[in-house]
Symmetry: C2
């Protein structure tokens, strides 16, 4: 059985991506990160999802990007924006180098485990404009991967696969529902509070999509009671 | 004063690279890794070198690549080769994804600290044939860096600089001596023992170069007493 490493943050996109990799016949190795994120409770969600999807191997790696901050997700002194997405502006929730670090560690794991693929929940449609979510970024990373490894020299570089990269968030919700992803167990909110804030970009994008596909029951209470809809 | 992140392993090459970055006028931020390496005592050397060179900021990051092994440097059940370098074979000391992970974390730090450059001690002449030490690998990484970051979009991507990439090891020793790098404080041996083993690839390459430039006093005792010369 072919193996795939899946970056599993605990959010909706990565959970759906893991379900897609399984549906496509891979034995999935999940990989999550404790990087100093404010919303580290997403890791509890990642654990639940891995269990729900029957994933046997799940690595949680410490890599403290919060030592130098530079993002409202890793530096508590910077507030998470709550006023909605501003077009053409990269928000303060952007974490310098995060995806580059995560994919690098996934490449290490994939090569050590002889995995053929790395599945990523990256999305470049309903997203916050992060540069490291764009298709051209992934293409450049594949080029690097081909040159970086012993596996690459032998022609066995793991392929970077981003099945959701061109989907709208509503499309992602539809795919999640079809694949029986436990959406209620996923965690997308940038705040690490008891319940989702309903106001950060991540909550807004998620809740609007859930509303669009008629699953108002899965949206956050704050979102429902606010004017964000 | 422009800032540069320098990957400082504690070995001869990275110490020399740090000295070069300083000589070229940068305020250096050193970055070292505890990645599950057998020879973690190189981190003591990194600390000494940072102090000797007057580097004020030194981050040591944990990222446990030994969780999945795949290398004799991170898996104690695989012996370090001691019989000399075999041409055209990537040895078991190759750590899957290591440089890709280290440079990714350096990019994160550089972006958060507004550093203009990342200096790397990578060398593709007297080395062990690792794929992630070649100039084409670095070029591909620069392409990725340009696309990956907010800094890149703004045209301020940190430049990856590998001043030793085309030098012979003897050339590196000469540069180190000229820049007053405390060579005796650097640690290159892959074994993490009390004294350098003198037999691993790293010891052999280093000791031969020291001998070549007439600094027999700095070679390892085992090397001197063996037939490796």
């Amino acid at each position: 059985m072919n193996k795939a490493v899946v970056l599993l943050s605990g959010g909706l996109d990565s959970a759906t991506t893991a379900a897609i990799a399984i549906a496509e016949g891979y034995q999935v190795i999940a990989l999550s990160f404790r990087y100093g994120q404010r919303h580290y409770k997403e890791l509890e969600a990642a654990k639940k999802i891995a269990e729900a999807l029957g994933i046997q191997e799940h690595f949680v790696i410490d890599v403290s990007l919060s030592q130098w901050g530079g993002s409202s997700l890793t530096d508590e002194s910077i507030d998470i924006p709550q006023d909605g997405i501003e077009p053409d502006i990269i928000p303060s929730t952007y974490v310098p180098g995060r995806n580059t670090v995560f994919i690098a560690i996934a490449l290490s794991l994939a090569e050590a485990k002889n995995a053929q693929a790395i599945y990523l929940g990256i999305n470049a449609v309903d997203y916050s404009g992060y540069p490291d979510c764009r298709p051209e970024y992934l293409q450049a990373y594949q080029q690097l991967a081909n040159l970086s490894s012993k596996a690459g020299i032998e022609g066995n570089t793991p392929q970077l696969i981003a099945p959701l990269v061109k989907d709208s968030k509503a499309d992602i919700v539809r795919r999640a529902l079809k694949l029986n992803v436990p959406i209620a167990d996923t965690w997308s909110c940038y705040q690490g509070e008891e319940i989702p804030c309903g106001l950060c970009d991540s909550c807004r994008i998620r809740d609007r999509a859930l509303l669009e596909v008629g699953r108002v029951d899965l949206t956050s209470a704050v979102f429902l009671n606010s004017n964000c809809q």
